[in-house]
Amino acid sequence: MANKDFDVRPTPLLDELEKGPWPSFVKGLKRLRDAGKKYSPMINDLLGQLEHSYEERLGFWKGGTITVIGYGGGIIPRFSEVADKFPESSEFHTLRIIPPAGMHYTTDVLRKMCDIWEEYGSGLIAFHGQSGDIMFQGCSSENVQPAFDALNEMGFDLGGAGPALRTSMNCVGAARCEMSCYDEIKAHRMIINEYLDEMHRPALPYKFKFKFSGCPNDCVNSIHRADFAVIGTWRDDMKVDQEKVKEYVAELGRDYIQEHVVEMCPTRALKLNDDDTLSVDNKACVRCMHCLNVMTKALSPGDDKGAVILIGGKRTLKIGDLMGTVIKPFIKLETDEDFEELVEFAGEVIDFFAENALEHERTGEMIDRIGLPAFLEGIGVDPDPNMVLHPRQVSFVRTDDFQAELERMRAKKGGKKEAAE
């Protein structure tokens, strides 16, 4: 081995993961170990501890408290429980760094990040963690501050961790996708940068995640992985280029289009006509994206674009998995005012969560506990049948103000109509 400063730890189990065609993280770790750099001894012991985990089938890291000056979160501290055996990697903290929205990079930025991480860290970087952060993995306690300072000087900031607003993600969207129904980057940056204080100084009951997808294909998995999902859609008719439809029919055949496009429409909104054109019942269409996905050249979203907001998605802990619930069936996202309204609404939801959720309770769990009507009242949103699959089916509810509520909603609707006229 190239490095004579330490004895290379044997890793017979991990060596098995150098085999096979997929890029190997073990090979990468060994490159760092053998680089003769100041982090090489740390990676040697890291490999030793990981091999130990593979033998014992147990993890050997524990948390702790490490922060940078001015912030309360964003560093994931890791102290080894087997530091006596592997002292060089006894501290192996992670810096979560927020990537540019949409994860666009130029190579000069990536190279600078590599240089900084060779100077202060382990040379190991994950693009990206599950929340969407760049994970600079493997830093000693004393190097956390200078590493952050160097990245911060480059224009990069720490992401979220703990009970706080978390780093967000948006799909590639308007930058490279014809399905995009709003400016995902703008919405993402406006919301997160407005409420950045909640990220850097954790004071919420539990984590709060935003995610931004440009269309119902939901490429950043917002519907389940975000407390607040903004998913692009449109209200008017989808666009159909009938000449292109005919080209698809000519290429794939009528049977294929009938079976794989028309019959897979969830609301039977499509009809393949005798002349190989396509009719769309836009009132029945639920904007599921299937036909647009199959016939990208022929079909596209309409012009009256915007987004659906779903709130409360999360994974199992503590009450079971939850998908987000429709809270705003449609918001327009075109003008600066539209985006400012969205930012303001997001703030109201965060505030309500901060004031009403129990410790370690996610937004979806809070809604489940207090009931959707109470949540809607709290954030000032009127009930809408799009929020549910169907109306109540259990009669066990007190309804003495039912008629008054009807009157109230009628008056509101009437008022809106008058204002519009």
Partner: protein, 360 residues
């Protein structure tokens, strides 16, 4: 001491960086003005703007946890063929953005030569979305990087080709918190025994009321053990979820044999055709068997083959299973249906078949 030395540097609270300085000029120019896209070959997308401009994307798989030498190698290729412009997908694939079509094939050739698979587009199996595991997490039951490396080796051909009925999104998670999320196939740790409590440490390490509150089934209560304040678990109630382990590490949930692996199928986030759905349990109790987890690989490949051979074009895993019915699915993958496949959690009765709709 100078003033600068006395005064700590305060952070620049810049938040989410503006991506436009890094974005490919063609993407900037045609922002929000794209017309359509097509895939000239697996691993390559061509997007056409309303202006007529075109951009080619070459997508390659990475190991996610990358050493700086790998990153610089990818940067060298991006400088040579993509004007230095790249982006990453949510599944840790790197995308090279190219405005000159003649650079596409040479880049693919060089990526392959350097050991990076080109694929993950269209109806392929993309990179597994995964968590940290033994490499870095404080509560992991297994090592995500190792499981993912093994599975991607097995599914390599399905990454570089587009031969699946629809896209396949696989996730792994190293504990039941399931940071990996929903997937067409999900490979997740499933604990099988209640936590083993180190009563010597509980009082010093754990905030006991918070731990009691964390339990989904109220199985934890304060107790005095050997004269020391600690916690005890009602093992008849305990569902072995590990929720108590994170706030209270002396409640060790992991064990060499006790930590097992489960496989779930049919989850998706997309709204295409059917609504988004959660994945459902197929297999549990698989051994946590590093470094190659062969038992897990066998189950995953069996499911993948059944889907590939039997689903219709454009059916996601969950769509397909719902069409053929769960009984037929269990037959196809040769797994007996057992009591643990029946849900017992809140709203479990909504998962019962309250009809005579049965496929014989």
């Amino acid at each position: 001491m100078s003033e600068a030395a006395q005064k700590p540097r305060m952070p620049d609270e810049t938040g989410v960086p503006d991506p436009f300085p890094y974005m490919h000029p063609i993407m900037k120019k045609n922002y929000g003005q794209w017309d359509y896209h097509f895939r000239p070959r697996p691993g390559v997308l061509c997007h056409v703007a309303k202006s007529g401009d075109r951009i080619w994307t070459v997508r390659a798989g990475t190991q996610r946890q990358m050493d700086v030498f790998t990153i610089r190698k990818l940067c060298d290729l991006a400088d040579k063929y993509a004007g230095g412009h790249v982006r990453f997908t949510t599944r840790s694939n790197i995308e090279f953005l190219i405005d000159d079509e003649s650079n596409v094939e040479p880049l693919i050739e060089e990526l392959n030569k350097e050991g990076f698979p080109v694929g993950g587009t269209g109806n392929s199996v993309s990179m597994i979305s995964h968590t940290q595991g033994w490499l870095h997490c404080d509560i992991p039951g297994t090592d995500a990087s190792g499981v993912v490396k093994t599975l991607m080796d097995l599914m390599y051909e399905e990454f570089v080709n587009e031969e699946m009925p629809n896209r396949v999104r696989i996730t792994t998670s190293c504990c039941q918190i399931n940071c990996g999320g929903q997937g067409d196939i999900a490979v997740n740790v499933q604990y099988t025994k209640p936590p083993r409590i180190n009563h010597e440490l509980v009082a010093n390490v754990c905030e006991r009321p918070a731990v009691v509150a964390r339990c989904p089934v109220a199985a934890i209560r304060p107790a005095l053990v050997n004269g020391k304040p600690s916690l005890e678990v009602d093992e008849k109630k305990c569902i072995c979820c590990g929720a108590c382990y994170a706030p209270c590490p002396p409640m060790q949930i992991n064990g060499k044999e006790e930590t097992r692996i489960a496989v779930w199928v049919g989850g998706k986030h997309s709204n295409a055709r059917s609504k988004p759905k959660f994945h459902k349990l197929v297999m549990a109790g698989l051994p946590n068997n590093p470094p190659r987890w062969p038992e897990v690989g066998e189950v995953v490949m069996k499911i993948l083959r059944a889907y590939k051979e039997n689903a219709k074009d454009w059916e996601r895993m969950g769509d397909w299973i719902e069409r053929i019915g769960w009984p037929r699915f269990f037959e196809l993958i040769d797994v007996p249906f057992v009591k643990h496949h029946i849900d017992t959690w809140t709203y479990a009765r909504l998962t019962h078949n309250h009809s005579t709709h049965i496929q014989y």
